[in-house]
Symmetry: C2
Subunit: 151 residues, 2 copies
């Protein structure tokens, strides 16, 4: 699905949820649909003002909250900030984050059921959720500095 279509889908979903479609919201939705990094409120604010000058930080907070309620974005915890937001992936996915540039990718295929079962029976806990994230360095950030100068 192309970004433009996703943007209208999100706006439609907002409207279906009884919200009005406004310029500030459109700007924030475009940002969150298009980014490949997890963004914090201030980043969304700064980037958003490029698109919609006069955008208020309060509106950023409120819109992110609403998008999270609708399940379109999710809060991401990073070592250097716990109020980052990222487009929700389809299905059961986990995050792989570049600790150098912040690039985020997702991956699937974790089979934690055996371990979950073992831990549950060992401890007596009823386990119903897990957090899994991988951290590393993305292909671009692994390139030597010499390569970077050739842009």
């Amino acid at each position: 699905m192309t970004p433009t279509i996703t943007v209208s889908r999100w706006l439609d979903l907002l409207q279906s949820a009884g919200c009005r479609v406004t310029a500030p919201r459109r700007a924030i939705v475009e940002l969150m649909v298009g980014t490949s990094r997890a963004l914090g409120p201030i980043e969304v604010f700064d980037l958003g003002r490029a698109e919609h000058p006069g955008l208020g930080l309060v509106t950023v907070y409120r819109t992110l909250e609403k998008l999270e309620e609708l399940g379109l974005i999710e809060r991401v915890h990073l070592p250097d900030g716990c109020h980052r937001y990222l487009r929700t992936a389809d299905g059961h996915q986990h995050l792989l984050l570049c600790t150098t540039c912040g690039l985020v990718q997702t991956f699937a295929g974790d089979d934690l059921d055996p371990l979950t079962g073992k831990v549950a029976s060992d401890t007596g806990f009823a386990i119903n959720e897990h957090w899994l994230q991988f951290f590393g360095t993305c292909p671009d950030c692994r390139k030597p500095i010499s390569t970077l100068s050739e842009s």
Copy 2:
């Protein structure tokens, strides 16, 4: 190792690191050694004042920071708070948290190497760290209410 011995070991380590052993620090160390929940600064402050009235919140922040530097405690991220601290476990362990009462246990035995390798080769990332946490309900919190009244 008994709690008392662990407390003196932590205090010794503090001293070896060039720190002085003071009443506020002792109170906080006792708390962190003894707890089975991840505690935030305010909780440590409140609980600590029972032991050492007049304890200052600033001292709590500073002491937790120091203990983290020494690797004795670790920051824990939870859905409802990202500045919780918990005694560091030995070896490679992960956390299992009760979402009802906050009880924390650890578990080992996650074998994520195959998955890590696959994701690394799929994405080109160099993966060097992972976060894994299980959430659930502990044995006590699973008991029906009727059982709880029998104390």
